[in-house]
Symmetry: C2
DNA sequence: CAAGTCTATATTGTCGACAAATAACCCATG
DNA sequence: CATGGGTTATTTGTCGACAATATAGACTTG
């Protein structure tokens, strides 16, 4: 089963989603241990279910497991965040390239529409753009790549980690309008089917984000 | 646990490794179904163990599982191979860039030594370079990136898939010496700490490989 | 008093059995 | 003869219990 679209059908699915949500949103904090009996009573399911859920969390690299010892939520370090953004730069850069190649004209038109609606909201209440809009934009391009490996890696893997970091370190720069301009240029490149430029702009866009975060982490760690 | 370095300690580990080997090497063929009771008797372990092993295989995207139906080995299509190489291009390109930045001088010297030894072998018996040497070269650069996310994705994820395709479609072009030259140039760029060039050359190197395979698949599918 | 060891406890790993859902098969019917 | 429905049978999902390992604490000893 794919983790981001499909709905939970089995008990293990549900427990996995609940656990992941609890971890990603910070309810279960980074570095803490996941006790199987404890979670078993908490979620009112058998230990086998919890075990399977933890296995899947391990697969997403959200927890680390040591044999005969147990599972801990991964520790979030500033260095880890930088590493994550390096991977994201490579992967989303490629996604933008492939999107310029593989998105249909209709999908590109939709994307332009999305950007327009964002622009309206930025103009009215400037504070909007932070979360949902940005995520939505990146989602569309990732899906537009039409490369299932890439999509899975980014949406099931990287993005949940990014969210974890965002909850812990709380990132939100003064990048609202500049980020919007960057989005606009990326979509223009995609509209022109300029794969090279689309990739380059996306990579820069993510690099800016990265350095922005790095500076923030250095000044207030 | 990390899938590529650590040794199996628990029964589920062992079963996972055995199963993965059987699948990657083609003993269990692509598209076939994995029956839990069957494997349970075959490996002489409980069904719970087989289940956990299958879960990990799903995590590597080696099998796909449908609820209440079971797990099948992923189907290998030519399109899937192209998608895989697109991801590999992005990821290994970034790995080369980071290797140019993060490898120690000693590690780079070792890498040059490796290349020399490859050169000797190519000169003596021309047929060598195909498998082990190529893999070894790429491994070193991936590890040289010092980015654990990247390393895990490539070594635990992509590389086993590549091997699966290699077993099924059997790829080996007339690229022996040209590939060697490409390796040489990449190492030169890394030695010069030229991140930009290292990434570009690695990406081209993988792109050549990709088009080479594509041509082969078109002419004899 | 510190350090090491042994014991006791709790947690993880493994197993076989039961429940639920799917797939296969047979039979009836148009 | 093909097709649809119902029943059986197999497979997956879930559970509780037992075995093995690691952690924590008490105890002994230098």
């Amino acid at each position: 089963m794919s983790f981001f679209t499909e709905k939970p059908v089995t008990a293990a699915d549900k427990t996995f989603f609940q656990l992941r949500k609890a971890i990603v949103e910070g309810e279960i904090e980074a570095g803490s241990k996941l006790s199987e009996p404890e979670l078993s009573t908490k979620f009112a399911v058998s230990r086998a279910i919890v075990r399977e859920a933890i296995n899947r969390l391990e697969a997403c690299h959200i927890v680390e497991r040591k044999a005969n010892v147990g599972a801990r939520v991964v520790a979030l370090s500033p260095e880890g965040l930088v590493e994550l953004y390096q991977v994201r730069e490579a992967l989303e850069g490629m996604a933008a390239r492939l999107a310029a190649k593989n998105m249909t004209d209709d999908e590109i038109a939709d994307l332009n529409g999305l950007l327009d609606s964002h622009f309206q909201k930025v103009k009215s209440d400037g504070s909007y753009y932070q979360e949902a809009g940005d995520v939505d934009f990146h989602y569309r391009i990732i899906l537009g790549s039409k490369n299932s490996n890439l999509i899975t890696m980014l949406l099931d893997g990287i993005y949940h980690h990014i969210r974890m970091y965002r909850v812990k370190f709380g990132m939100a720069g003064p990048r609202i309008t500049t980020a919007f301009d960057e989005h606009k240029h990326i979509v223009q490149a995609i509209s022109n089917r300029d794969e090279e430029l689309a990739e380059m702009l996306m990579r820069r866009h993510i690099m800016y984000s990265k350095t922005n975060i790095e500076n923030k982490l250095i000044t207030q760690p």
